[in-house]
Point group: D2
Chain length 351, copies 4
């Protein structure tokens, strides 16, 4: 009977049907919203889909505070397309209670992901003090094999498994975004493929140009430890950072291909950072213009990202999902919430 209960408990979050009321019981199952997913509207371009991803996630199997299956439920519900499970290899403060290998949190979450048809990427976090700091290895096959003394060896093992290395939060915990010789060497060897210019609740402006200087992908990830509703509790959708990946389809393979091609932007607190070409294409795909023929134009923003621009003394706000009426705009506008480098705002022209 316990087994039956267990199955029922697991099944609950993905069943949308509610038995209706009778004299004996009134059911309000529809109030359980785990069966409802917010859709985040961000259009694609050039045939690519814009996938909303978070490549840095913890559970109670390392130092987080939720069971792995919760990560899938949260991410699906919030409208993400993919997450990577990246529990620490070395830092497991609950290990006196939670007894499991390094692949277990992924395996548990994977069962849930399959229920939702959700993309779950296997990963782990190689966790050392500075200078090296923390690095995520994702797209790996066996996390246990990376649990070795030498972190550079762990990186090599990950790469041999087909892994992909992200340099996490370069400015944490000392608030200095220092690139040490070890990073320069790893970058030179092509072993680091991406970095977080935004992590959790902080951004590192001095790193905003690294994506092009080093040919790596820019990322914004949560590094989440608590439930998403606590760590980003006001539920403003954009408070949760995400990495936008421009992929040929919604699949793990397509995400990997896009990351290898560095088709990604970091998105946090309403701000986008990365390649000017992608920023421009994303805006063009989002803002639809209708010239009214009376000196004014309507700009309909079909995306969930609000764009704010200025030109001379004038400020123009194009709210997410709304239409703004503005004078017919010509020439370049400075986009306040799009940066292609530290202090470098995208200049945008309505054609």
């Amino acid at each position: 009977m316990k087994r039956l209960l267990f199955l029922l408990a697991l099944a609950l979050p993905v069943m949308a049907n509610a038995q209706m009321s009778n004299d004996d019981v009134h059911k309000y199952d529809h109030t359980n919203q785990s069966q409802y997913r917010n859709e985040i509207a961000i259009p694609g371009f050039d045939g690519y889909h814009t996938l909303k991803c978070d490549f840095h996630i913890h559970t109670s199997f390392s130092d987080g505070s939720v069971w792995p299956s919760v990560r899938v439920q949260e991410a699906w519900q919030e409208g993400l397309d993919a997450i990577a499970m990246t529990d620490h290899l070395e830092y497991r403060p609950h290990s006196n209670i939670v007894k499991a290998g390094h692949n277990e949190s992924f395996n548990i979450a994977k069962e849930e992901a399959d229920r939702y048809g959700f993309i779950l990427i296997k990963g782990t976090e190689i966790t050392r003090g500075k200078p090296l700091g923390h690095l995520n290895a994702i797209f790996i096959k066996d996390a246990d094999k990376l649990d070795v003394d030498d972190p550079l060896k762990a990186i090599d093992i990950a790469l041999e498994q087909g892994g992909y290395i992200i340099w996490n939060h370069p400015g944490w915990p000392d608030n200095k975004s220092t690139m040490y010789p070890v990073h320069e060497e790893l970058l030179r060897q092509g072993k680091i493929s991406a970095y977080e210019l935004y992590n959790c609740m902080e951004s590192y402006p001095l790193t905003f140009d690294w994506y092009k200087e080093y040919g790596i992908a820019p990322m914004a990830n949560t590094d989440i430890h608590g439930p998403v509703a606590i760590d980003y509790a006001d539920r403003e959708r954009w408070v949760r950072p995400m990495t936008l990946v421009f992929a040929t389809e919604r699949s793990e393979e397509a995400i990997r291909e896009a990351l290898d091609a560095r088709r990604a932007l970091a998105f946090f607190h309403g701000t986008l950072v990365g390649d000017a070409e992608y920023l421009t294409k994303l805006i063009s795909a989002s803002l639809k213009v209708r010239n009214l023929g009376n000196g004014r134009m309507e700009v309909t923003n079909i995306s969930d990202i609000t764009y704010t621009m200025d030109q001379g003394d004038a400020l123009y706000i194009f709210p997410a999902g709304k239409t703004a009426m503005v004078p017919v705009l010509s020439g370049e506008l400075k986009v306040r919430n799009c940066l292609y480098g530290n202090g470098k705002n995208l200049m945008y022209s309505f054609e």
Copy 2:
């Protein structure tokens, strides 16, 4: 100088540019949201656009309490596509103060409509006690000419002008949806082309089948008198009733063509009433299905209308703009918020 001030005042609502702050003045012009329009997502079908219309509107020129230009600002801002100005011919309680002919409120509003590129339909309300009651004449040319003693004569004059007659709120004010001989005669003659099964804040269930029994278009209109934010103040988008018109394009002519072909549905408080064919096509255009291959399917509702269905003991909610996960559904479901007659719920099947 007064002239200049006047122009400035009129221009304000349609200028989105805000001078930025300096030492002397800080401007917050972006907080004036008259320059922002909500977009209501309701997809079209069969090549038709779904236009959101309100064919019953008053101003302070009859017994309303706002200047005509406000009606355009409100409607544009709320995401409507067209409204008809229908001030009473006979009931003008402010006439000791507001001195103007019957076309004046339209003319004032039309100036504003042209600024917004908004569709404004000329109309008026022929206002008598029961049995005849109230009728809107829209698509007319000169409202002054309808101000005659005999209301049946007024109807004929409207029709001679190319007008279109709507029977307003059949159940008001006596809470009886009585069809009197005068209506039967007008219907027989083809002079009444539409009726309100919902008006202001009340619906008339006994009339829910009339659209097909008499070959007329079903409508839900506001009959609004106060500012929309007072009469429908909780700002839940769907509290404001609207008539959905399935038109070949967004133009006054296309609306007329669609109404003549009775391609319309009444929409109020989340409920749609009208032809089963249109209801079915609207749902199909709104709900996108993805079968997960594990006994479940995702249903993404791309519209702003929430659909609620049941089958046996199970209740299924497909929230506006969200994705619901449900078991793979086969067979017919009863759609709670879609009626093709009094007490007649649409039955819907996912293909």
Copy 3:
């Protein structure tokens, strides 16, 4: 019968009862929210009530776009305690249509105010170009008598009627907050008793010290012309500016007494400006502290105003209506959203 209809129409906004549904008609009268008032929580102090007031209001009788009764409905509904009707004497662009004396808009609104038990103050706006600019005369008896050629004479007539003079938007329309000799003279004579440091959607930082330099009351008023839901359409409560008046009771007389004693603060966009003593007392009345005895304290903000403070590198936000947990705070904190002069932030200490 028309008279009956008229009475019905007027009565509608203040009737909260809805006839329930039967077979013939379903009523949704509860969706008309004109019968519901938001309560704005701002505590009083020293035995004073904090009244939320707007002393600058227009209607379609001058250059506004709503009927006077609407101003009462809006203000009551939004939680204000009092407004002053201040249609322009000289600028009446609708006067070819709207034929009425200068007291008529007040009289119409007063009937509505009496239905709501709402405080409505009689006023008018003396409207000239710079240097004099615009001045509101409120607490007057007969606006018609102020319609004279010499604006200084109009001021004297207002004062003879027991009026109170407000210098409106000193920085409009030239974005220069210039005090001209005429103002210095009027201030010297004690004829100007208040000024707007915030008007409509702009603030005048250079005037933020005037309240104490000249012994006048600081004000933030809307100068509203359109419906409040259009001019401040995103419905964030604090977007509508207001003048907070610390009065012995909720009555017109008490407001006047408080204004004469200059017990007022300007409140706009979450920012309070005025006397440091009132700012301090308002914060103390709003923030309730509970020391947890473990190095932390809970600060419960019982008001609807969010306070933001910093000290050294730390930022502390005390959200409206919520409890924040912070370290036990000692010493002075800089209150970001409270100014007692231009660029002069209040320093606040938790006792």
Copy 4:
């Protein structure tokens, strides 16, 4: 260093200070809302405080999916005053991974509770099939001691420890609210002190009179397994059920005293169920009346519970935190959302 990291991780949720931005790092720590608590406004009466409690809570130590500390964070953040930790004794599906005794989840959560100054009650759930079903033992001292074969013995051990027994979800899982002989015997012996008439997402109308028939306290508890934001994800405050306890102060002892005196109401989905006296007093404490002297009265609802009443054909809604204007009401009104038994609505009179 790992120890340091661990302390940092634990401390994060209860620190409200954010280092401000510099060139190197921009911090957005204020977006972590674990430091902000919603305050739920429900007034007390007769000198009692109304405490918001949830006496049925699970964690990943039994079949839940969050770490115990999360339960404290969630409850504090949502504005609850107390929770009881009640992991199953017998049903622990994660026990192959999570290795711990029955007191461990309480102990971990207690550390967090002490950081927040939050009331955490020690408990456990005795979990059998029907007829006995599930019972919570709260206010116990040692949960390990209750892990015995005979559930009736476990109840006795709990009572010897000073425990308090709640009969959980009588209508689950068979949708039949059957009282079996074992319950009648336990009730006769005074061993069951409370029962859940609402659990998780379902209510048991047939039990709504039991509180007075058997002299036990009515409760509405969550029985929560997932993160609160998933199980009650639309974040409407009232979707989370709670047991209202009328206590002399905010302390564990006062809660116990109030429960022993059966001063409690069940609250779920906006509906209150329990003793008519408490319902009446709660409404009187919540609704403040001001007679306008013109046939109308203002009713200000200072609570966060909306009350809906009807009388004859009229419906009156008193929205949470708002003022409603209604005719002066005399005689009894039927309160739709207050029940003192199955199908028995409270009748309320404004004095």
